[in-house]
């Protein structure tokens, strides 16, 4: 497990006797990731699951509304080009961010608690 001293970590929840605690531990790790430069692979290592399991758990929390994932490939607002001053007359992007994209960075963020 990689120890990253510059990150501020909230303690991960203790394992649940019912289910093991990994699911909530993933959520807790993401909520604690305020130090910047934290990858999902690190989260998986800290929780003790494979990266694929961590991805699946993130998907679960996204469906539950606790997390949100954002494709950072382009950076435009989710509303598209409609409200953007750079939009072309046909409603398409006028800023050059159209077209195929390379490998995409995905940000996993915490949704505000209701």
């Amino acid at each position: 497990m990689v120890s990253l001293p510059w990150r501020r970590h909230a303690p991960a929840p203790a394992p649940s006797p019912v289910g093991g605690g990994a699911l909530r531990a993933v959520l807790a790790e993401i909520r604690a990731a305020r130090g910047g430069g934290v990858s999902l692979t690190e989260v998986a290592q800290r929780v003790g699951v494979s990266r694929e399991e961590a991805e699946a758990m993130v998907e679960y929390w996204v469906q539950r509304g606790a997390l949100a994932t954002t494709d950072l490939g382009r950076g435009c607002a989710s509303g598209g080009c409609g409200g953007c001053p750079s939009a072309a007359r046909d409603g398409g992007p006028g800023c050059g961010t159209d077209g195929p994209s390379g490998p995409v960075l995905v940000a996993i963020t915490v949704r505000p608690r209701s």
């Binding site: 289910g19 990994a22 990858s39 954002t70 006028g94 050059g96």
Partner: protein, 755 residues
């Protein structure tokens, strides 16, 4: 052992429930079903994108049709599957249900799958369900499978994407998986037709001897409550719903129709028993799932303080723990767990200490390569514009006896202004290609990763880096991009910082000045502007956060880094072209309009006695007079000349217009001049030497710094106003002008002491 007994009891109970059904008894011999003329129904279910429809097509061929499911607006494909040899002379009806992540439905598609598997009694359910499971993403697929196992419908697992998993270093054993699941598992490669006969054999065997699947073991505490609830719901509701599924659904608080309130309350009570009485009593420990299941006590001791501490989370947690155990039994991860090339490279590129230096070195390389490679191309274009193009335009204007004002507009304005900008096309193209190469290789994602870390260290919100990075291309979409920030305070703060991100339009001015004044170090000078831009964002950001946004909380953020890959010509070419095209379209429109406006204002005399319209010397026109009025403000910065201030005025409209205004005010394209490449450079050198009293380098640097820090363009102001409001936009503009002037003066005054 107790768990095994409970599972066996459940199997018996489920079978008994099925035997109670009046017709279409799935426990009957398959031959009987065939003799009766009934066509068994086999449902194909699975997560989206696991190869389910490919498998469906491979199994049914052309014998299929797609239509809405009765009573639903969900498209479902149905076809006839004729496995051979088989007792089913009419084949089997294969139903391709929509891709589903969970039997807790969140869309009409998922609702249909849920209903078909758990609702409408056994008559309405398929005889067998084939769960398509992606071997490369087993964890997520097993979660769904665990829910299907709760339905009691006999299950056969079709294991797809085994080749993809193998390529990722994952060896998935179908035999071990079958043992762990207690359910037949068949590896299939539908594209190649592999495993289809085995799948048919497994499904026919299941039809002939239907066995309810072994449910996922959710741990003793949960199993106990589930078993109790299952026995309760089986009475009365077992006719309609799959009992174990219904018990777990009620435990999770799902709104299942027709369930009496008393039963709901009993489920809620069961859920409360599973939740901890005192969440704070337990000490935090490691959360590895290996520490679970077998040695866990019967009652949970700690569920933390998360709001998601509800029975639904407990059940999901137990399903993932079960999936973890199945994975451990069936998947050999040794090759996958070895560090990949991406891992090894990332150790350097995203390291805490080397990440930022490497990023800066890469960007320095980009700008140096850009300026070095572009020089011969720019010179060639400049010579073409100054020579043949200018001569041709002059000849045409003379041939049509164009009036003097029209010649001035065309030659000074369009050929001079637009032409100057065109010389930057090779430069922009090279830079866009280099940046696209970095992006397509996956490096830019790493750059964002290390920049994010720096931003957090200085107290800026994590996701802020994204719109800021977009701002290096153009500030306007970057401002629109602030909408991805969840908190209003973050949006306002980042919206005020984006103008300090140096956009590609400013690059043209940097390159022009750097190539004129810094020669072989032009790339370094341009790079320094980018570094300064980042430092300004950090510095102003910290300042604003302390003064205006003191209450901002940091936002958690985890980034999912994509693997590196070899850049493809298509993606690089398309991305570069899109950006270059957008730059040219924007710049073209802005420059033509600005050139026309500058020309008009330059033709109007300032006061009397200066000649008529179009006959006034530029310096004494309305435009020149305005620039001369502003110029003294820049004397402390070493560039107090009207030419410089004139270009800064049009730069307020758009930075793309700065170079064209320089060309216009110096009249470098005026007929009768000795046109040659670099005539604008000569004029600029002369001006800066004069205004700086010999301290040319600091004066040029001060001009570049001012250009970097003051208001980017009118479009940015409009976008800023839309995103952060009029008051903050005006405040931000004032701060930009003050910061730009102070920095320029500081750079010049300190620089003059050194150079």
């Amino acid at each position: 052992m107790a768990l095994q007994d409970r599972a066996a009891g459940l199997r018996r109970a489920t079978r008994a429930t099925m035997l109670e059904k009046p017709c279409c008894d799935p426990v009957e011999d398959a031959g009987d079903v065939a003799v009766r003329g009934e066509v068994p129904r086999v449902a194909l279910v699975g997560n989206p994108n696991v190869g389910k429809s490919t498998l469906f097509n491979a199994l049914t061929g052309a014998r299929q049709h797609v239509g809405n499911w009765p009573g639903k607006t969900v498209h479902v494909a149905r076809g006839t599957w004729r496995p051979e040899p088989t007792a089913y002379t009419d084949g089997l009806t294969l139903i391709d249900l929509p891709g589903t992540y969970s039997l807790v439905p969140r869309s009409p598609d998922e609702e249909l799958t849920r209903d078909l598997l758990v609702d409408h009694g056994l008559d309405g359910r398929p005889e067998v369900v084939v769960v398509t499971v992606d071997a490369a993403n087993l964890a997520r697929n097993l979660y769904f499978l665990s829910q299907v196992l709760d339905t009691g419908v006999p299950v056969v697992v079709a294991l797809t994407m085994v080749d993809v998993a193998r390529a990722r270093g994952l060896k998935v054993s179908a035999e071990s998986l079958a043992d762990a699941l207690g359910t037949p598992v068949v590896a299939v490669l539908p594209h190649q037709g592999q495993g289809l006969d085995d799948l048919a054999e497994a499904v026919c065997a299941m039809l002939a001897d239907p066995r309810p699947p072994r449910p996922a073991d959710l741990g003793s505490a949960l199993e106990e409550e589930t078993a109790a609830l299952t026995s309760l719901v089986a009475v009365g509701l077992g006719e309609r719903y799959a009992p174990r599924w219904l018990a777990l659904a009620l435990l999770c608080g799902e709104p299942v129709p027709t369930v009496p309130e008393g039963l709901r309350e009993q489920a809620r009570e069961a859920g409360r028993r599973l939740l901890p009485a005192d969440p704070e009593s337990a000490a935090p420990e490691s959360a590895a799932p290996d520490s679970t299941a077998t040695d866990s006590p019967d009652r949970p001791a700690d569920l933390g303080e998360l709001p998601e501490d509800d029975p639904e989370t407990l059940v999901a947690e137990a399903r993932y723990a079960w999936a973890h155990r199945v994975l451990a039994a069936a998947v050999d991860r040794r090759a996958a767990d070895r560090p990949t090339l991406t891992d090894r490279v990332d150790r350097v590129l995203t390291s805490r200490w080397l990440g930022i230096p490497v990023f800066l070195a890469v960007m320095w390389g980009v700008f140096t390569a850009t300026t070095t490679l572009a020089v011969p191309l720019q010179d060639g274009l400049q010579a073409l514009l100054d020579g043949p193009v200018n001569r041709a335009a002059t000849a045409v204007l003379e041939a049509v006896h164009a009036p003097g004002w029209l010649s001035g507009l065309v030659l000074n304005g369009l050929v001079g202004g637009v032409g100057q900008l065109l010389t930057f096309v090779p430069l922009m193209a090279i830079m866009f290609v280099l940046l696209a190469l970095l992006e397509d290789s996956g490096y830019m994602a790493r750059a964002a990763f290390v920049v994010d870390r720096v931003m957090r260290l200085i107290g800026l919100p994590g996701r802020a880096f994204l719109p800021l990075i977009v701002g290096f291309g153009c500030n306007v979409p970057a401002l629109a991009g602030t909408r991805i920030l969840a908190h209003r305070g973050h949006r306002l703060l980042v919206g005020m910082l984006i103008p300090y991100v140096t956009c590609s339009a400013r690059l043209t001015v940097y390159v022009l000045l750097a190539s004129v004044f810094f020669g072989s170090r032009a790339g370094t000078a341009v790079f320094a502007m980018y570094v300064l831009s980042i430092l300004l964002v950090i510095g102003i950001g910290r300042l604003l956060r302390r003064v205006l946004f003191r209450d901002l909380a940091d936002e958690p953020l985890v980034l999912e880094l994509p693997p590196y890959r070899r850049p493809t010509a298509r993606v690089v070419g398309m991305q570069s072209w899109q950006k270059l095209n957008a730059f040219l379209r924007t710049a073209g429109g802005v420059i033509v309009a600005t050139v026309a406006a500058v020309w008009l204002l330059s033709a109007i005399p300032l006061g009397g006695g200066q000649g008529g319209f179009g006959k006034v010397p530029l310096e004494h026109s309305v435009f020149g007079g305005t620039a001369r009025t502003i110029a003294p403000a820049f004397e402390p910065a070493g560039f107090g000349d009207w030419h410089s201030s004139a270009s800064l005025i049009t730069g307020f409209v758009a930075k793309e217009a700065v170079v064209s205004t320089m060309a216009q005010t110096y009249e470098v394209q005026q007929p009768g001049d000795n046109h040659h490449a670099g005539s604008l450079g000569t004029a600029l050198r002369s001006t800066f030497e004069r205004t700086s009293h010999g301290h040319t380098v600091p004066a040029v640097l001060a001009f570049m710094v001012f250009l970097l820090a003051y208001t980017p363009c009118m479009a940015t102001l409009a976008a800023q106003r839309a995103e952060i409001g009029t008051r903050l936009t005006m405040l931000g503009t004032g701060i930009q002008l003050a910061v730009a002037w102070l920095l320029a003066v500081t750079v010049y005054q300190i620089g003059a002491l050194l150079w």
